[in-house]
């Protein structure tokens, strides 16, 4: 992709000092998002995907600290900003949508006011202007009868409607980037379908970029252009969605794809990934996936393979990625 990058995260490292030692849940993560692009970040629980998303806006838990790396957003390194300066970015230029809308919304504030708060604070709108904007946003995200529902409280809404409120809040200041942390995991499949379509359509209309964290690969396939796969605090593979899902170049991605049942391929047998994710206190030497990898060789155990850039925007951290491709070739 040409043109300036909107967000460039380079070599991000986060550590948490715990009772049993120092944990590095994010250990050298780099990725970029171009304007108008939708990027998915996938991985299993504990891979560090949510934490990566949160560290962009400095929303880490108090015991976690960013030890190195940069988060450059339109030329500014967000890790170097004071909280006051960061507050001018949060919600205004980068918005966030959380998994649990009930715990992310204020339960004792009318939903309309929660949507109107952003434009009032960040855009300096008057009360009347911000209310009109909130009603308009509620209509755009598909909340029926917005003038009346403006005065409702979050508990009066269903899960899907609450997530629409979250989307309206995220859009309220015309942000350049929206970060989504599993926004549809708590929803039923028909509601998930509604919300995903809404997000995709709204972002396309306004040219907003999207970063989408989820463990659900088909959801990424529906919404995103590009995808990065995380394992044990590192990105192991990157590329466009169609490249990564049809020709994975990392055995972990291959494992994820083969262990998830695909509704369109009911006869495909499920092949689980052997073993379990490594401890982050003492990760395995070399490639962190090597103890579970059937292609692992001696060189995988020696040094940690970096994410190597291949042609056409693909990157892999596997030394023997050709074997994955051979395997895919043998299967079909």
């Amino acid at each position: 992709m040409s043109g300036p990058l909107q967000l460039e995260v380079s070599d991000l490292r986060v550590q948490i000092a715990g009772q049993h030692g120092v944990v590095r849940p994010i250990d050298g993560v780099s990725f970029e998002i171009a304007p108008g692009e939708a990027v998915g970040l996938v991985g299993e629980s504990g891979s560090g995907k949510s934490l990566t998303l949160r560290s962009i806006l400095g929303l880490l838990p108090p015991e976690a600290t960013v030890t190195s790396g940069k988060v450059v957003f339109n030329g500014t390194d967000l890790t170097q900003l004071s909280q006051a300066r960061l507050n001018k970015v949060r919600g205004r230029r980068i918005a966030m949508i959380f998994q649990e809308p009930m715990s992310a919304l204020n339960p004792v504030m009318r939903v309309g006011n929660q949507i109107a708060e952003g434009p009032r604070i960040h855009l300096g709108m008057s009360r009347a202007q911000s209310v009109a904007r909130a009603v308009d946003l509620m209509r755009r995200v598909g909340i029926p009868d917005p003038e009346r529902r403006f005065r409702a409280f979050p508990h009066e809404f269903s899960g899907g409607m609450r997530q629409r409120v979250m989307i309206a809040m995220a859009l309220s200041c015309d942000p350049e980037l929206i970060l989504c942390d599993e926004p549809t995991t708590a929803l039923d499949v028909t509601i998930q379908d509604q919300i995903l379509r809404l997000l995709a359509q709204l972002c396309q209309e306004s040219g907003t970029s999207l970063m989408f964290v989820t463990h659900d690969l088909p959801v990424v396939a529906q919404v995103c252009h590009k995808v990065a796969v995380m394992y044990a605090g590192r990105i192991v593979e990157r590329g466009t969605v169609s490249q990564v899902f049809s020709r994975p170049m990392h055995p972990y991605t291959l494992g994820l794809l083969r262990s998830a049942p695909d509704v369109d391929r009911p006869d495909q047998s499920l092949v689980p990934i052997p073993g379990s994710p490594p401890s982050l206190i003492a990760p395995p030497s070399g490639c962190r996936f090597h103890p579970r990898c059937k292609f692992a060789e001696e060189d995988c155990k020696v040094s940690e393979p970096p994410l190597r850039l291949l042609d056409a925007g693909r990157a892999t951290a596997c030394l023997h990625y050709e074997q994955c491709l051979d395997q895919i070739g043998a299967d079909t």
Binding site: D188, T190, L217, P218, G255, P261, D264, P266, V271
Partner: protein, 336 residues
Amino acid sequence: MSEQVIVEAAGIEVSFSVGSSLGARLRHQQHVLHAVDGIDLTVRKGEALALVGESGSGKSTLARAIAGIQRTNRGQIKLDGKVLAARRSSTDQRRIQMVFQDPYSSLNPRLTVGSILHELLRVHHVVPHHEVESHTRQLLRMVGLDEDAAHALPRQFSGGQRQRVAIARAIALRPEVLVADEPVSALDVSVQATILNLLRELQNELGLTMLFISHNLAVVRHLCDRVAVMYLGRIIEVAPTKVLFENPRHPYTAGLLAAIPRMTPGDESGAPAVKGDPPSPLRLPAGCRFRTRCPIAQQICAEEDPALTASGTDPDHSAACHFAWRTSLANAPETV
């Protein structure tokens, strides 16, 4: 798979009272929520039958009623032709066992895995006293755990391993029917696959009949022989898995299938597969319950509640829609 019926549920109703009756009268609502509202379901010996539906459709309540841990208000459940009493004898309890969704809360945190299994084997006299120990080890091997696992507490295990313990506990009593309520929903994808493979193996080895509750249709298509789709306390369509996925006859089933995110990038610019939210179970629409969201609803749908009727050509395929067997869904009458 035989045609022999093992579980037969007829006219099952389960209701819960919600809030006070006065408050409900003031709000013009019912205060009784019919979670399961008159369901007939047969499960055949050796099959894996899926119950699917959105949250609030009553699938878990129905499963718990069949497992005997939820009292029913009406209806009867037969096992092998014999009606089960409301309060089941311990022999009847043994025959239908359950695996729950959350392996973190369904195991006693103070008992070792070994003692969880020992207790069961002793209370139900599954094996003679002196064989309890060896049988426990055998059960652990069957679910793919180390024999040492007997000495560990549930908290020392990962989610997938705990679910293995829960499965060992369920099969320890040598049940004929295993009711699994979202057994893989709390697990990561790679772990999910091991549990699904384990369930399938056990089903083949032990000749188990399985009632599998899930909202994940990809998992259901992979594992189950037949599918029953629930919507607001009713079964609205039942069919063999292949038939249901390829030729759904109820507009809700069709919408549910179209809403599944696919691995091939789709066109997200179109309208969603099913519009709106399900209505509140306390204020059910008159007539067909799905008509408020249905793309092909007609006048008759508001007046008559469609019954679950079988197809003229395929007795295994039933749907509760006025238009299910008239035309193909695509040629259904236009909305007026």
